[in-house]
Symmetry: C2
């Protein structure tokens, strides 16, 4: 399939802006832009290689600053055509970077603590950022159906983006997902197919479908469009720095599922330095996992370069990837930047969700409980420096993981009169 696809995309009408080619992360082999994801030489992952050579720093900065209040302000740095903002897309991004002074006081952070709150995206998770890129790649390659395997956030993001952009969508999920997640994924009117099996079975089926005539013309956002899709996470790095006044944070705490987001945030920060948009100074990247799915954290602590797969068992379901594809790259980055990878228990995740809600009024998904919980643990252990500027990612919305905090409820139940109110001791 790879060869056929590469040929079809030497077509000079493929315009994905500054994206110049696909390049193998392992061996550096380059191929033309196309819907391929694995190197034909070494099977390593392909990623986008850019041509940024024409950019002048201050011109670029001005262009970005005068751009739209969404990820397309960074179109010059993404694999999208220059007129992307005029195309129908759900336009995620430019979410709030919340100065979290109350949380900082509780955690003892004095150097400035910020929460990058991606629950403000259209379908309330960071997945909108990556799907928005995949949509533009799908347009460029002439796909008419968008697909993915998902356990929740991604299904909703693909459904919504496909609906608005005029694609058919056909999304695959385990057949026994919670009703809420099913409704969220189905409401956009695309096909939603339940697979009798677990998420691994869903994934395996999608790989089969890609190689079959039945899947022809289908863009699987996290498989054959993955090199484009993954670049969406760079926008988190761009926004954080621009929102800090074009400054690098000293420390960033990022959740790890496949590890792709963390590696792309690192890529984004490096690009900003190379382009002169921020000062070249050290930064540390910290990875956050749930103890019940901590293959990267375990490898980091044991000093290993490879990640031993785990069978996930945690409430942080959006991070529950037991065999994370980008695990080794995450280990590299954590070590190179003098960061770390840490994990927290499910109880600590719930405590951290409540802590963030009660201090900053942000109701995070379990993944946000993981990053806030890990931040607290890293400070307690002296690993994260509380005197430095620190950014913690919240990548999803608590409304989607209500079960995790289902114990939270009424302070009191009273009769509708003042005596009953006084008895409850709330005055």
């Amino acid at each position: 399939m790879a060869v056929q696809t590469v040929e079809s995309t030497t077509n000079p009408t493929v315009d994905l802006g500054p994206a110049a080619a696909l390049s193998c992360r392992e061996c550096g082999h380059r191929v033309p832009l196309g819907p391929v994801f694995a190197c034909e030489e070494c099977f390593g992952p392909l990623e986008i290689a850019y041509d940024f050579s024409a950019y002048e720093t201050e011109e670029l900065r001005k262009k970005i600053e005068s751009g739209p209040a969404n990820i397309w302000r960074y179109a010059p740095l993404l694999p999208v055509p220059a007129d992307v903002a005029d195309k129908p897309n759900i336009n995620p991004g430019w979410t709030k970077l919340v100065k979290a002074d109350n949380l900082a006081r509780e955690l003892g952070v004095t150097g400035g603590l910020y929460v990058k709150d991606d629950s403000g995206n259209p379908t309330h998770s960071f997945k909108d950022r990556v799907v928005a890129q995949a949509i533009e790649a799908a347009r460029a390659f002439g796909f008419t159906t968008l697909s993915c395997s998902s356990t929740g956030n991604l299904a909703g993001a693909v459904g919504a983006a496909a609906a608005r952009a005029g694609f058919r969508s056909c999304v695959f999920i385990p057949h026994d997902l919670e009703q809420g997640k099913v409704v969220m994924a189905a409401i956009y009117g695309g096909d939603l197919v339940g697979i009798e099996g677990n998420y691994d079975d869903v994934n395996r089926f999608c790989s089969e479908l890609i190689g079959d005539p039945a899947g022809e013309g289908w863009g699987f956002v996290n498989v054959n469009l993955r090199p484009y899709y993954a670049e969406g996470s760079k926008t988190l790095a761009y926004e954080i720095c621009e929102q800090l006044g074009w400054r690098l944070p000293d420390q960033i705490v990022v959740p790890i599922a496949s590890g792709s987001q963390l590696t792309k945030i690192d890529k984004g920060l490096k690009e900003l330095i190379q382009l002169g948009l921020v000062e070249d100074k050290p930064y540390k990247i910290f990875g956050a996992q749930a103890e019940g799915c901590s293959p990267v954290s375990v490898a980091f602590k044991e000093g290993h370069d490879v990640v031993r797969p785990q069978k996930p068992d945690t409430i942080a379901k959006s991070l529950a990837i037991g065999n994370p594809a980008d695990g080794p790259y995450v280990l590299d980055i954590a070590r190179r930047t003098a960061g770390a990878v840490e994990d927290v228990t499910d109880d600590q995740i719930v405590d951290a969700i409540k802590l963030l809600a009660r201090t900053e009024g942000i109701f995070a998904e379990t993944a946000g409980g993981v990053t806030v919980g890990v931040t607290r643990k890293l400070i307690e252990n002296g690993v994260l420096d509380p005197t430095k500027t620190t950014v913690v990612l919240n990548t999803g919305d608590g409304l989607k993981t209500l079960d995790a905090v289902a114990g939270t409820g009424l302070t009191a139940t009273i009769r509708p009169n003042l005596d009953s109110f006084r008895e409850a001791g709330l005055a």
Copy 2:
């Protein structure tokens, strides 16, 4: 209580920016700024009177355009201090105005159709806009506890905003609300009190509490802070016009609960005209209700000036106010602007939620189903002009009213193999 409160607020240290006084909507009687809501002369509702006399149009426009990407860009037009953006607040607003070309095609709108999507606010409803104003008024008047009666959206908005702004919160809800809404309201750590009774009982209890020593120092955002709170809805009008390039839309479709939002949108549009920020031209405001709670729609159609209360029975629970306080004002505005008030059935609401999701990738609350459904009906009936620029409000998030579309689900369930996929006929 009113007299005592007015005295306490002649204090010159109360700085709420351009807010000059409270003025009775019925008799025009003016009192100093304070936590009062009813006229001491005629019991009419008090609203904010502003002093905008010092503003120069183009200077004001520039100041707004260079302001933050939230409602505080309009601080010069709101009852808040000039430095409001520096205070801890959840900073709602500047939500997307989505050009809804797919929906326009389905509805036959050729003049430009837009959805103002307030699900992008921090707690995913427009209530964040009004609560943000109440918070600043509460600060100015020295309240330390924030409260409200609520059946859902408002409870979450108050809980979140109070947490971040450093207030204690104590919110009252009917004791038998759905678990999801209880969790959402409780997660921010304030007191959440279930009242044995329905929403009317909760409301009655809150009125009792305001007059009692037990409620001293408490700001009830939708009662004694209501004049300030209500002004938050003006920001919807400001944003729509600025996002249209400082143009008035020809037609706006607004949901009606108490009717306050619609009246304040009208107030906001009139202010923009008076300030010279938009051209002075006619606009039409349309009100949208659910048939199961349609007191204003019924009065409009029957040509009445008064609104006969109804007992609500509709899935659009966030609009289910059977005796809307601002009903008569809504009737005035709909007639003055040559608009209308219309209602749709619960089935039409569900259809409209699905229509908006499948065309634009926006998953609306039931209230959004009401406005989209009413828009469709008004076009079909020849009341709304499809050749004119039209803005439809979505004021909440579908994630909060999943029950309404619980029938939405899987297209198919298959075994994880290609044969089973082919049998399902989805290729």
